[in-house]
Amino acid sequence: MEISDAELVARAIAGSEPAYGELVRRYERPLFSLILRLVRDAAQAEDLAQDVFIKAIRALQSYDPSRKFSSWLFKIAHNTTIDHLRRRGLDTEPLESGEDDDFGPLRSIADTTIAGPADELERRELGEALDRAVGALRPEYREVMLLRFRENMAYEEIAEITGLPLGTVKTHIHRARKEMAEILSAMGYGR
């Protein structure tokens, strides 16, 4: 049976090194994926993800166990990434999805649930199409879409993470869905 996040946090605070390691391993991929899709640079994404975990570890004593650990961690990730984007001056510019994006780590992931080469090709096509569609969204839409539909978070959690009013989160998601549907339709899906 998998140990809960709360239990791992309690063990980590008590000084268990493996508990710290397990917490990082449990969230490194979702966190890195989200940050990578926001900053679109693998090296920067890794540095930011590292910063996020270091901040979280140093602030672990102040974590309130009544809240979800994932929400707390993603909030740190949100703040760290937004600060970075602001410093880079990209917060108001939509990021275009281009061939020169540093997205190597995303492309090289294999899905072991796929059976044959044809399925693998189809999976890759769809994965790349989704990737382009998500990448074409505005950063603020992109983040809420990923938190909602990739991390399966509730609207309230997303509002807490992003610091946006609940109504704004719902509006962003609604508009992002419409935008993404148009993009995928333009790519030839659903015809």
Partner: protein
């Protein structure tokens, strides 16, 4: 903007289900379908050893330090050196004190006899040492003769490359974090 394409992808069940729900205006079905569709979005991994780097950087795990970098070891070495230097200063006095009870029993003949015995022993020791040096010299000559020819030199070069490769491989095995780039595991 995404590129327009006329090709209809084969793997369209999930997108179609979502797009149909969106077109119908069925919000809950659309959200459910989109959540299923988004499971197909590729996930990324940081480079291997990410967790270990985080734990080290955050101070949870202390990096392995060089033995001689430890303050206690440095103090021990310094103390040993000072002790050795002080010992050298007091050695003559200690020897004199140890030999003083036998001072009356020494005679010129005895000292000369002892010295000659020491001289003989030293001669034997040097000749034995010379034999070892001769052997080493013979081995060295044989090696240099072999290496002065192309096959010998090539053999040495090959052995050096293999040795260096083995050392590098071992080094990488012992410190996996040094391999910066990787094919992400899944």
């Amino acid at each position: 903007m995404p590129r327009e394409t006329t090709r209809k992808p084969a793997f369209e069940k999930l997108p179609a289900a979502w797009l149909e729900a969106e077109a119908r205006g069925d919000d809950s079905a659309a959200e459910e379908a989109l959540a299923s569709l988004m499971t197909r979005l590729p996930e990324a991994s940081p480079r291997p050893g990410f967790a270990a780097r985080v734990l080290r950087q955050s101070g949870v795990v202390k990096a392995r330090r060089d033995l001689f970098a430890r303050r206690s070891v440095q103090w021990a070495i310094a103390a040993s050196l000072v002790l050795a230097a002080v010992s050298l200063l007091v050695v003559p006095g200690v020897v004199k004190a140890v030999l003083s009870p036998f001072a009356g029993s020494f005679s010129v003949a005895g000292v000369l006899g002892g010295a000659s015995q020491l001289f003989v022993l030293a001669g034997r020791w040097v000749s034995a040492g010379a034999a070892y040096w001769r052997l080493a010299s013979d081995i060295g000559s044989a090696c240099s003769l072999a290496l002065s020819k192309p096959p010998g030199a090539l053999l040495l070069l090959g052995l050096s490359i293999v040795g260096a490769g083995a050392f590098r491989g071992l080094n990488r095995l012992m410190s996996p974090e040094r391999s910066a780039f990787h094919a992400p595991s899944h």
